[in-house]
Symmetry: C2
Subunit: 361 residues, 2 copies
Amino acid sequence: MKVITELISFTEGIKLKSGKSLSSFDLMIETYGQLNEKKSNAVLLCHAFSGNHHAAGKDEKLGIGWWDQIVGSGKAIDTDKYYVVCCNNIGGCAGSSGPLSINPETQKPYGKDFPEVSVNDWVNSQIMLMDYLKIPYWHFVAGGSLGGMQALEWSIKHPNKIKKAGIFAAAVKSSTQNIAMNEVARESIRKDKNFFEGDYYDHNVIPKDGLKTARMLGHITYLSEENMDIRFGRKFQDEESKVGQNIDFEIENYLQYKGEKFTETFDANSYILMTKAMDKYDASEKSNLDQALKEVEAKLLIIGFSSDWLYPPERGKEIQVAAMNNNIQSSYIVLDGDHGHDSFLFSSKQYSNLIKKFISS
Amino acid sequence: MKVITELISFTEGIKLKSGKSLSSFDLMIETYGQLNEKKSNAVLLCHAFSGNHHAAGKDEKLGIGWWDQIVGSGKAIDTDKYYVVCCNNIGGCAGSSGPLSINPETQKPYGKDFPEVSVNDWVNSQIMLMDYLKIPYWHFVAGGSLGGMQALEWSIKHPNKIKKAGIFAAAVKSSTQNIAMNEVARESIRKDKNFFEGDYYDHNVIPKDGLKTARMLGHITYLSEENMDIRFGRKFQDEESKVGQNIDFEIENYLQYKGEKFTETFDANSYILMTKAMDKYDASEKSNLDQALKEVEAKLLIIGFSSDWLYPPERGKEIQVAAMNNNIQSSYIVLDGDHGHDSFLFSSKQYSNLIKKFISS
């Protein structure tokens, strides 16, 4: 698999949905495989909230790609056949412009001054990326969760630039409970003694405790309740392997460990920006969903997972109903998936086959 | 309604399930109505995790009692007929011995040194209270959530001291997800800069931020997801009534407000102790549930609420099945209840009637 990692600077800048602008910005991207002569085999992968441009293969620093089970030579999204592109979204913390980047106006990291970003902005930046890569249209745009929202937005806003969309474990918009959970996570970050209103870079610290608590909560929402019961149940953690002194149960140990690990790679300001983008996205905001999907020309593959309680399968069904009301070629299916919301990340024979068939159909 | 508030000191002390002891302890209680001559009309109310002894009526400091819709003159638990007793559990923060109390050994507040407490310990302290009040048996022991666990424990451990038990919105034990949520709440408290390992009283501060975040999360689990959608949906908060600068949605404003209010009345160490007691309770821990219920003689009224996702109705059904397997006189019913887990706190015609009929049957 031919992997290219590239940092691309867009000096023309971008106007954001919030009304603010970035006078210039960078996108960190990874591409796999090769664009064919007809330029008809380009695939865009959109990452979920804590993901990045590293979707496939193994990277020294970033480890295994987030969709490595689905993307690669001979896999569901076959990099021998398709030219696959993935970028770290703006507002993120893996190389693209975000709160960690240097603000050209102050020569310091943006911190809290990095403007609010949205799904809409990401799609617009991906349009610019497309032009840069000389890709006339995407054969397929796909993603799970917040990535699925981008795939949906692509099909709504740019019907002439996308042939097929894969919308997995996603929703038209977040529910009140989704927003509520994200607000608790943000609150925990904001109140960390090392947060300094978002300008912690200046103080050479990170709001680690708050970010850890936020991730612990997030993690609960990504896992299946049943799977958690089977895997951890009410088992007590053995003394030797406890990661903290207040731990009784295995599930506590697991969350503490996962939360801690997360703080080593993710930025707290990005956590706030990305969850806000997730909360505020609403494909149907200007009308209703039937209206919103009126211009869609892409074929849609909508997959929900039965154990997902963050964006349960019914949320995918809403998209399917609106697609059918608009005579859009669309398939909706609910798969088992043991991993709750995270099921979209893991390959299963059925899931991989469905994606494979859909892309090549 | 005759209301008596009393602080009772038990100088004989109590041995706790953890192996530790309190050499003496206090219980803050409230009683409503009068014990009849036959001493056959005593009712014990057990409070949920953040509740206290003030179950009914209006108190200058504590406001309206937590079960005022159910308990009072002419209400479902009729204080004209029954002598109703409610105590603040040990480990709490409303007058009974807890982390805020003075440790006789150090003459300072216990803080982190207050021993771990359990449902079992509470029932044992309630036995001592019963003796003090010269009550030979409870006609009825009832509670919701963690209070329901106490009612269940009473019926299991003291079959000769209880005639009827009301177990509402409760479970035999917490699920892995329940524990996980509580651990996130505790983590948020422990990492507050003002927590000082639980000895914040010495520093004249409280870990307010952590406690607030914990309560915000708790609050999400108490509310019905559907009701949240109906009540708040994705509505934006108007500028004038925002309680914080980072707020976009009404649900954020609501949680921020509720979380903040909670910190004015509840103690962070108690939060940790009470949630640990909830996590660790397991009526079936020494055998299985059928075995555990073998000695039960009380009649049981088990009520679940359809919108409760913390202890959903299926958890009550487990108790009912074990009751039926043991030929215990038991009724199990699922009520609608708009308020999610909190539904047990609110009167409805059906809910109140069921309780009223059950007590007097």
